[in-house]
């Protein structure tokens, strides 16, 4: 049994809350007392007597103020998998919410209302999925009950979306015609759509292969914390703790410590306090090396025959997440995993229109929810990978050094 993390994208009208509610309900993740509470609140009851959308109802603060707070996480399990849903609501801050949710997911369900077809929002969600290199895309064509369960309508929408996917270079798209409200093609194959021969949605989510999404080819490890017990019996113990970000590390591997560019050899590997011969992503490990070198948090260990980039002038895509606008020439902290370096945003080349992919000039500044291409300069060389080649070591955030807020998602180039 493993974990699938996914995000659902769609406006309220597309039935996103109903779909999440349906998955929770049909996987029997909703327990009796929670159902009783729901039955009391439900005004918009379905055949089961409850309003599925209420299962994802927010906080009182949100209802009172008509706001939505970025991402909520929902959990359910079947016998095959544990699922973590990033539920990113909201209209106003949708780009910010979706980027946050998508950064923690490996699959996206894009909901399309069968009556409306591919709309501007569908395109926007797809652009973000493509920008963040999401490995799996499911297009769930919902409300098929309101479109007469028509195969022709399904095929029209599929053909329209294939054009979008081709333009954005999105591969691995799966199309499922559903009715979240009635449960068609969610758990069981729909009797109303015998023409659909693919898997129902839940069956697909249970079986889609995600283990191979993790890169086990390019070894990347960043020192998170140095373990030095300095007790009598562990006097000389010095272990470098961190997560294997990608690839596999083996005892005896020749490594280069970056950015200092010093070579050494891995002499011992521990996972959970036990010695092992090798460690792989995404394990949390402790590595030991042969030489006594000054190493601190943020340093990268890479195998000498497979090195990441080292640079201090870097082209980036910035997704701006803060209400304060980006000021060109301002200094920020760049946080790359555990490494914190001062950074200047030098030049904003252009904005990307997330509805059309058009490049637009950034003369009037960069505001919340905008995506830009820019050049940054870091105070010390950064050790990283191109986001498009190895996304797990190509992502970072910008932190405002005065407010301490996380102000941007950074895709390194």
């Amino acid at each position: 049994m493993d974990i699938l993390r996914f995000i659902t994208a769609g406006s309220v009208d597309d039935g996103k809350s109903t779909l999440i509610g349906r998955l929770l309900y049909d996987s029997k993740s909703i327990l009796v007392d929670q159902l009783e509470a729901l039955e009391k609140q439900s005004k918009n009851k379905n055949a089961d007597g409850i309003d599925l959308a209420l299962l994802t109802d927010g906080l009182r603060a949100e209802r009172e103020q008509g706001i939505t707070i970025d991402v909520a996480y929902r959990y359910f399990s079947t016998t095959k998998r544990k699922f973590i849903i990033a539920d990113a609501p909201g209209h106003v801050q949708y780009t910010r919410n979706m980027i946050t949710g998508a950064s923690n997911s490996s699959l996206i369900i894009i909901l399309i209302d069968a009556r409306a077809g591919v709309i501007e929002q569908t395109r926007r969600h797809s652009i973000i999925a493509s920008l963040l290199k999401m490995p799996h895309v499911v297009v769930a064509i919902n409300k098929m009950d309101l479109a007469g369960f028509s195969e022709q309508r399904f095929n029209e929408i599929k053909a329209d979306y294939e054009k979008v996917a081709a333009q954005l270079n999105i591969k691995n798209v799966t199309y499922v015609p559903i009715s979240a409200l009635l449960g068609d093609n969610i758990v069981e194959r729909s009797a109303n759509m015998p023409w659909y021969t693919g898997q129902p949605l839940l069956e697909f989510l249970e079986s889609v292969e995600v283990a191979s999404d993790i890169n086990h080819k390019d070894p990347r490890f960043q020192v998170q914390y140095v373990i030095r017990p300095q007790t009598a019996e562990l006097h000389d113990y010095r272990g470098y703790a961190g997560q294997i970000i990608s690839g596999v590390y083996k005892k005896g591997d020749k490594i280069k410590i970056l950015p200092a560019a010093i070579e050494s050899t891995i002499t011992k590997i521990e996972v959970g306090g036990k010695e092992v011969q090798e460690a792989f992503a995404p394990q949390a490990a402790v590595l030991h090396i042969a030489d006594d070198i000054d190493i601190s948090r943020g340093d990268t260990f890479a195998r000498i025959d497979n090195l990441p980039k080292v640079a201090s002038e870097i082209e980036v895509v910035l997704c701006w997440l803060d209400n304060k606008p980006l000021i060109q020439g301002n200094k920020y902290f760049l946080q790359h995993k555990g490494r914190l370096v001062k950074t200047i945003v030098r030049e904003v080349a252009y904005k990307l229109d997330v509805n059309t992919l058009e490049r637009i000039p950034a003369e009037d500044g960069v505001k919340l929810n905008e995506v830009v291409h820019a050049t940054i300069k870091t105070a010390a060389p950064l050790v990283y990978d191109d986001f498009t080649a190895l996304s797990d070591y190509g992502n970072a955030i910008l932190v405002d050094e005065t407010s301490n807020s996380t102000v941007a998602a950074v895709l390194l180039n």
Partner: protein, 302 residues
């Protein structure tokens, strides 16, 4: 499953260990809030693994309401000794006396709200900049929306609107003086994940998690242990039942469930078959208002 794959518990464990190490690296004075419940016991197990063979590099802090199960207190002392961690205990009773706080009244008068005062005083006393807690997002809808690194102002308040976006596995722990961060390393675990992990790791639990005979009264369908901390009315019927606890909080606000499950395997099987949520079945304190947890979090609760 290929050669380099982790099962779901190993994935959750790796994520939690990563979070623990981020806390140790980013903060000057972290603390682990320890209640004696299974979630905080799981935290200690994860922390042991995160820093092995070294000791856990921060103290265990217990905010003692004075209404604890004696079994949980004995377990707490033994565990702190076993892992070699410093144990800091601060009592709500003392805060009540020093600050002339008013004790809540009622049949099951709970010090749940009052412990916020003691917690904030303790944070102030030791200048803790990060407090690690065992909250899970599956527990409750206010928790479903909380970040793993959750920034609190100097009054300990949670401001849902001002949460930082949490991208990838990058945790921004920078705070201003006076602010602190609550960190929840098992945010992505469900109740069943915690039990399955305890079983897999062979973690020892306080005896009250297993079936035992106990004197209880039945109140609105929930079984409450007879203790000095609750008011027993003439109409209450005291009976001895075979029960276990699914969650361990104060004796005043935690209900028992009838059970014969005497081993971890039996408990896990019962949890898998249960049709009632953990908080719904066992926590009296969430029943007061629909938004009870949301209110308490905003007030500085864990």
């Amino acid at each position: 499953m290929g050669e380099y794959t982790l099962d779901y518990l190993e994935q959750l464990e790796a994520e939690s260990i990563y979070i623990f190490r981020e806390v140790a690296a980013q903060f000057e004075k972290p603390a682990l809030l320890f209640s004696g419940g299974k979630d905080s016991i799981t935290l200690v197990q994860l922390a042991k693994k995160a820093f092995a063979p070294g000791k856990i590099p921060f103290p265990l802090v217990h905010i003692d309401t004075g209404h604890n199960f004696p079994e949980a207190l004995a377990y707490r002392d033994a565990l702190a000794k076993e892992v070699g961690a410093e144990l800091i205990v601060r009592k709500v009773e003392d805060t009540i006396k020093q600050k002339h706080l008013t004790e809540p009244k009622g049949k099951f008068a709970s010090r749940n709200w009052l412990q916020i005062h003691t917690l904030l005083d303790t944070i102030e006393e030791f200048k803790f900049d990060a407090c690690i807690g065992g909250a899970r997002r599956d527990e409750e809808k206010a928790r479903a929306k909380e970040r793993i690194f959750s920034v609190r102002d100097e009054f300990g308040q949670w401001e849902p609107k001002l949460q930082r976006p949490e991208l990838w596995n990058i945790y921004n722990g920078r705070v201003h003086k006076g602010e602190n961060v609550r960190v929840f390393p098992i945010s992505n675990w469900t109740e069943l994940d915690v039990w399955s992990y305890i079983k897999k790791e062979g973690v020892r639990l306080p005896s009250i998690y297993f079936a035992h005979d106990r004197e209880v009264i039945e109140h609105q369908g929930q079984l409450i242990a007879v203790s000095d901390y609750i008011t027993i009315d003439e109409t209450d019927v005291i009976s001895t039942k075979k029960v276990r606890y699914r969650t361990v909080g104060d004796m005043t606000c935690t209900a028992a469930v009838e059970s014969n499950a005497a081993t971890l395997d039996e408990v896990v099987n019962e949890i898998m078959a249960t049709r009632i949520s953990e908080r719904g079945e066992t926590r009296i304190d969430d029943r007061v208002t629909e938004a009870a947890m949301e209110d308490r979090k905003k007030g500085g609760y864990f």
